[in-house]
């Protein structure tokens, strides 16, 4: 969702904000922290959680590194009671609206150590492994580690190096080179365990929810709990800014300095948080987080796991929603090319009823779509995998993790008896909107699946799209790679391995290297008179 960075370019710098917004009253935010109820009143609807923490509550342990959800220094952990269990999510507090945590539990880096100062294993392991140098990214790493501790260590799941890399990819460190932090992630389970008293926290949260449900969704920050409430609110307040995770709108606030007098948050709508499994399709609610949505997609199509992990960093996937990403419709958002290749449909709803269309038909221009002022994105319907389906999603970016695609290409072919029955290809980064590669599809449909056919499809891709040059890549590179990715797809379809660095396995031909003993003997001379 925040894949389309609203960069504060200079044009934006001179956007004049002519209206001083007439602010409505927003209700008091209530959440549980350190086992106690915290109430914060008179918070504007567009104030970020980080601002509330640092400026209103004086909790300065949580840092701002970038103000756009890319560095992770501001990471905090949220807890939500769902079906009687606690659900823990590390998120970026710098682009999260404070009101969105109403009714949840919150942990910041200041909340982990025991009263007597004993550090939590996530903290102690960082100390023991020399995981902090300048220390400014450290609170964010500690909170991502705490999230991993709750989600894995407490469930007796091992934290492997691979898992640590995946779940820490949204946290940047400029000092250590990460090795000691990855060590800390893998070592924290060895320390004396610390457990959250979940039963009492769940009951506190349920009590909080009970109080909140009794109140109508009105005011400056609307967070309806049911679909009818949402649709009514949308019809009644068409001027309210919709947020569905806020990982992009958050940047409009922090970077473009936009102000919103009223916000409509869809993420609490119970119906839209669900992911429903049908025989022929998945229906992903627009309020399902990217983490949840990708989990469902990967369960059906395991080959998408790496692609899913490369979508932003975990804290963004934990806040952002698939519905938000799709509604935003950035041409460089990664979910749309995949969904187009999968033949997904989008369902829009309003008090007037609902309508459904193929995803690519939803977009009308750069960041423009068919959504009416009283409509919301409600569901994304994704066909289930079928036998004979050849599917790959490729992302080309400067950095493997937590980057935005220069080119994204998702290819979905059904080949039967050596002939392409169906070709469905989505592309990103090559046009003003996410697009279906119709010319390449036409070049392939009904053709024998051969290297020649793949080459022709590559040519068709290059013919259909006239990408632009920007800071991510030149037009020429994008065009060349589009065709080359079709070549990669051909080779992968022929069973070739070790042709994609995304999942490259180091060849084991070399003899095992001698174990090295790092460090050196202590220095007896040090400190003696020189």
């Amino acid at each position: 969702m925040r894949e389309a960075r609203a960069s504060p370019n200079l044009a934006a710098i001179f956007v004049r904000e002519s209206t001083i917004l007439n602010r409505m009253e927003a209700k008091t935010i209530r959440f549980i922290r350190r086992g106690e109820l915290v109430s914060v009143a008179n918070v504007p609807p567009d104030r970020t959680l980080l601002e509330v923490l640092r400026e209103d509550l004086g909790s300065c342990g949580t840092k701002e590194g970038c103000g756009e959800g890319d560095c992770g220094a501001c990471t905090v952990v949220l807890g939500e009671a769902r079906e009687g269990k606690l659900d823990y999510k590390a998120i970026n507090s710098c682009i999260r609206l404070a009101h969105s945590i109403d009714g949840m539990a919150l942990w910041t880096v200041e909340d982990l150590a025991a009263e007597d100062g004993t550090l939590h294993p996530a903290q102690e392991a960082m100390v023991q492994c020399h995981g902090s140098q300048c220390g400014f990214c450290t609170p964010g790493f500690v909170m991502s580690l705490f999230g991993m501790y709750q989600n894995h260590v407490c469930k007796n799941e091992p934290v492997t190096r691979e898992l640590a890399q995946e779940e820490l990819s949204g946290n940047l460190c400029r000092c250590t080179g990460y090795r000691p932090i990855l060590d800390a992630a893998q070592q924290m389970a060895q320390l004396p365990p610390v457990r959250v008293d979940e039963a009492s926290l769940v009951s506190q949260l349920e009590e909080l929810a009970h109080k909140r449900d009794a109140m109508p969704a009105t005011g400056a920050y609307l967070a309806p709990r049911t679909l009818p409430q949402l649709l009514a609110a949308r019809a009644e307040h068409p001027g309210a800014q919709i947020v569905a995770g806020c990982t992009d709108v958050g940047l409009w606030v922090t970077k473009m300095h936009k102000q919103y007098g009223q916000v409509l948050d869809v993420t609490q709508v119970n119906e839209l948080r669900r992911i429903e499994h049908y025989d022929n399709h998945l229906a992903i609610g627009a309020a399902a987080t990217l983490t949840e949505a990708f989990e469902a997609l990967v369960a059906d199509r395991p080959q998408l796991k790496t692609f899913a992990n490369r979508f932003a960093g975990l804290p963004v996937r934990n806040s952002g929603t698939l519905g938000g990403n799709v509604a935003n419709g950035s041409p460089i958002g990664d979910s749309m090319p995949l969904l187009i290749a999968l033949g997904a449909h989008i369902v829009l709803m309003s008090v007037r009823g609902h309508r459904e269309m193929p995803l690519e038909a939803f977009y009308t221009g750069y960041r423009q779509n068919l959504l009416a002022p009283d409509e919301v994105v409600a569901w994304i319907k994704v066909p289930r995998s079928t036998p004979g389906e050849l599917l790959r999603a490729y992302k080309i970016s400067k950095r493997y993790d937590d980057d935005i695609s220069a080119v994204c290409l998702a290819i979905n072919l059904t080949v039967k008896d050596g002939v392409v029955q169906r070709a469905s290809i989505g592309a990103g980064g090559v046009a003003a909107t996410p697009v279906r590669a119709t010319q390449a599809e036409a070049a392939l449909a009904g053709q024998p699946w051969t290297e020649q056919a793949a080459r022709q499809a590559g040519t068709a891709l290059r013919a259909q799209f006239k990408p632009i040059s920007d800071m991510r890549a030149s037009a020429a590179y994008r065009a060349e790679v589009l065709g080359n990715l079709m070549q990669r797809f051909w080779l992968e379809s022929q069973g070739l391995e070790q042709i994609n660095l995304e999942r490259f396995v180091m060849p084991a031909s070399e003899p095992a290297s001698t174990p090295w003993i790092a460090g050196q003997a202590r220095n007896d001379n040090a400190g003696a008179p020189a």
């Binding site: 001179f14 020399h130 140098q133 460190c173 050196q520 007896d524």
Partner: protein
């Protein structure tokens, strides 16, 4: 993997504090969110916030500024422009060429024209964008080669020449010419630039600044306010990263905050938004190179002519010494007998590029490594053999092109050991066979050495002071002129002082850098922090110890030399006394329990006009073996395996030193792979946030990433036998780039490879076709 001690092992009973991997003195506070950075300091009542007004044009006449809309916005208290500066409107930089606020012209997009002061951060930032600038655009120069053509320089060109390079090239059996472009690098300290200025009584000032150089902040602020230095106190407990980016660049922020505080008579904090930080502050200098080299059939260089064009941005800042250091390190580890190096300091309409870890050293070294790699491929030799063939000698071929004898060269045995432990030869053969069968992916491997000169090239900077205070309960406080930016300086200084006094590490606390404690301190830069400040602190502690020894000796009737301070106890041939008891006794006997210490580096001298002398006290050495893979369809790459052998002398703290080596290597890898600064044709920096500027993330670190420390002590007399470690490992990452070129060459059947840095996927793919 490189954890220096077994995880969770309790430190054994140890005799000394140095030589052991003590945790960073702030680690426990950092992991608990209890370590205070400037923006975390509780704000003084009445504090206002400032935000900068940025130029939107790369070069132009500033005809007017309309602040009326901004001033009418909620919360706005003042708008400051150049006319509001009570002192000199030009910053007190060495070259004196940089206005505090743009005066009648703008010279880059992002140049600060003034600041808006408001009640809240967001009010100030919002209003700053409503200030209207009337600018008449002028032609802008964005490329250093264009600047060379137009002779547009911030400082005059410098030439270093030895022997007859033209002849050396002409007589050579083989010759090559080449050119190369190497990009800059954003520091991306996690804590952005921040300063907080508090006006005190009687026109005294207290400045909190996240800075590597409090003394310079003090001078700049005093200069801008028209006050003596003594009116300004600058304090910095720690930075959230510096890397050179807070050597001079933090000064601008502090001066702007102080001017705003001066005008409003209120405390003012200025914290740059990350995007503004990218737009405003300088970066590592991008370089362009042309070269011509002659060599024999073994790869030995017989003559070299090299041109280095440093893109300095719009002002000199530290570009002179940066470009000098590039010239000094254009030899890296190799003897260049007949050589001419021409260095241009190009003025362009971009941010004013500045210090960054390595300080021109990386930009000097990469080109000689490129040349040697090209020579090896031209001759069909193993690049390691060509590198070795050109190494400095021990008895001869041991004088640099700037006339310094290399006396401590350990590279031949160091490279031999790394070659063996990394199984380089075997792997090179294996990779060759593997590549022959791999249609899309090609692997590459390279070993490159580092020889990095330690000392500020401006000799007078190589001085330091410290204060050691022993309190009546025996606890110890040390203060020194260095700053803590995560590198562990305070930890090492505490270890050194603990050993000097024979007390446990935990007895010693280090306090914030503060110009009112140790004055006139140099920047914490040039890797020199521990060498200079550690020694100064050691000397301060030694004076206290010697006074105590004298006192004990008189009482015990022995020689002061027989008084031993160790493990919290003080012993003589006849008695043992606890440290705390001795301190208490000595206090009552009116022994001075605190002292200053001062250190200046010996042996160094340097003539800045001829660029000759002994600018460096010693060299730090190292080498890395890196293996990579590239995708020939997309140009994507991966670093697969890294083995490092690095020389830190006798390590004062192995964990901290390994942390510097690993962190420096990964930062260098970023410089040469994913970190690309892109200015568009208008001079607008299009990569101005972490969404578009990609430093390495967790997934970029190879699982096999091993670091070993060279066991020998520094051959020069340096604190604890140690060597400086901050910058040298950064340049080990040149092995990544050379390995990528090796892989690209494999994809081209062994042919030459021209690959500009950073080696983004696009640049790698381009290199496969040139």
């Amino acid at each position: 993997m490189n954890a220096p001690e077994k995880f969770l092992a309790k430190p054994a009973a140890v005799k000394t504090a140095t030589g052991h991997s003590h945790f960073h003195e702030s680690a426990r506070a950092q992991v608990a969110g209890a370590a205070t950075y400037i923006d975390d300091i509780p704000e003084v009542k009445g504090t206002l916030h400032a935000a900068p007004i940025l130029s939107t044009v790369a070069h132009g006449k500033l005809r007017g500024v309309d602040t009326s809309q901004a001033e009418a916005m909620p919360g706005v208290r003042a708008v400051l422009l150049a006319r509001d500066i009570p002192g000199d409107p030009i910053l007190a930089t060495f070259v004196h060429d940089e206005p505090i606020f743009a005066i009648d012209k703008v010279e880059f997009i992002g140049q600060v024209v003034g600041v808006v002061v408001a009640d809240t951060v967001m009010q100030a930032r919002r209003a700053a964008r409503q200030v209207q600038l009337d600018i008449e655009p002028l032609p802008a120069i964005l490329d250093p080669r264009e600047a060379v053509k137009q002779k547009n320089f911030v400082l005059p060109p410098v030439t270093v020449r030895r022997g007859e390079p033209e002849h050396g090239i002409a007589k050579a059996p083989h010759r090559l010419t080449g050119s190369l472009e190497v990009g800059g690098q954003e520091h991306f300290y996690l804590e952005g630039q921040v300063g907080y200025a508090l006006p005190l009584e009687q026109n005294n000032w207290w400045i909190y600044s996240s800075t590597q150089h409090p003394g310079e902040i003090q001078h700049w602020v005093a200069h801008a306010l028209g006050l003596p230095n003594s009116a300004v106190k600058v304090e910095c407990r720690r930075m959230g990263g510096g890397f050179g980016g807070k050597e001079t660049q933090s000064g601008h922020i502090a001066v702007w905050a102080a001017l705003a505080a001066h005008k409003t008579k209120r405390p003012v904090k200025l914290r740059l938004d990350r995007d503004d930080d990218f737009m405003v502050t300088g970066k590592r200098h991008p370089f362009a190179y042309d070269w011509e080299v002659g060599f024999d059939s073994t790869g030995l260089i017989t003559g070299l002519k090299l041109m280095l064009a440093a893109n300095c941005g719009f002002s000199a800042d530290l570009s002179g010494p940066v470009a000098d250091r590039a010239v000094f390190h254009a030899d890296n580890a190799y003897f260049l007998g007949d050589v001419e190096i021409v260095s241009y300091r190009c003025k362009t309409n971009t941010q004013s590029h500045t210090a960054f870890r390595g300080f021109g050293g990386p930009q000097g070294m990469i080109v000689i490594e490129a040349i040697l790699g090209d020579i090896a491929r031209a001759l069909g030799l193993d690049p390691l053999d060509v590198r070795r063939r050109n190494l400095y000698g021990i008895e001869d071929r041991n004088v640099t092109h700037y006339q310094m004898q290399v006396e401590d060269n350990i590279l031949a045995p160091l490279l031999a050991k790394l070659e063996q432990t990394s199984t380089y030869r075997q792997r090179r053969a294996d990779i060759g066979m593997w590549n022959a069968k791999s249609p899309v992916i090609k692997r590459g491997i390279a070993i490159t050495p580092v020889k990095f000169g330690i000392s500020f090239t401006a000799t007078f900077f190589n001085q330091a002071g410290a204060l050691v205070h022993v309190y009546t309960d025996g606890s110890v406080q040390v203060n020194h002129g260095g700053t803590e930016m995560g590198q562990g300086l305070n930890t090492k200084v505490a270890q050194i002082v603990a050993d000097e006094l024979g007390v446990p590490f935990d007895t010693v606390r280090v306090t914030a850098a503060d110009t009112s404690k140790v004055p006139n301190a140099s920047a914490t830069a040039a890797s020199s922090g521990t060498d200079l400040n550690g020694r100064a602190a050691q000397f301060a502690a030694r004076q206290v110890r010697e006074r105590l020894a004298q006192y004990v000796a008189e009482k015990q009737n022995c020689d002061p030399k027989q008084v031993i301070f160790a493990q919290g106890q003080v012993s003589t041939p006849t008695a043992v006394i606890d440290w705390e008891q001795l301190v208490d006794d000595a206090y009552h006997a009116r022994v001075q329990l605190w002292s200053d210490g001062f250190y200046k580096t010996p042996k160094i001298h340097y003539d800045k006009h001829t660029l000759t002398g002994r600018p460096f006290y010693y060299f730090a050495y190292g080498a890395a073996c890196t293996e990579v893979a590239i995708d020939t369809l997309t140009g994507e790459s991966r670093v697969l395996k890294v083995d490092i052998l690095h020389d830190v002398g006798h390590s004062i703290n192995p964990a901290i030193d390994i942390g510097q080596i690993e962190g420096g290597f990964i930062q260098g890898m970023g410089w040469l792979t994913t970190e690309q600064l892109v200015w568009n044709d208008k001079g607008y920096l299009a990569t101005h946030a972490p969404s578009t500027y990609k430093i390495p993330a967790t997934g970029d670190v190879p699982e096999h990433f091993k670091v070993e420390l060279w066991p020998e002590a520094n051959r020069e007399d340096n604190v604890g036998g140690s060597k400086a470690v901050g910058e040298p490992p950064f340049m080990l990452a040149i092995s990544v780039w050379e390995a990528l070129r090796d892989a690209a060459s494999a994809a081209r059947g062994g042919q030459a490879v021209r690959m500009d840095a950073p080696a983004t996927a696009e640049n790698v793919l381009k290199a496969l076709k040139l």
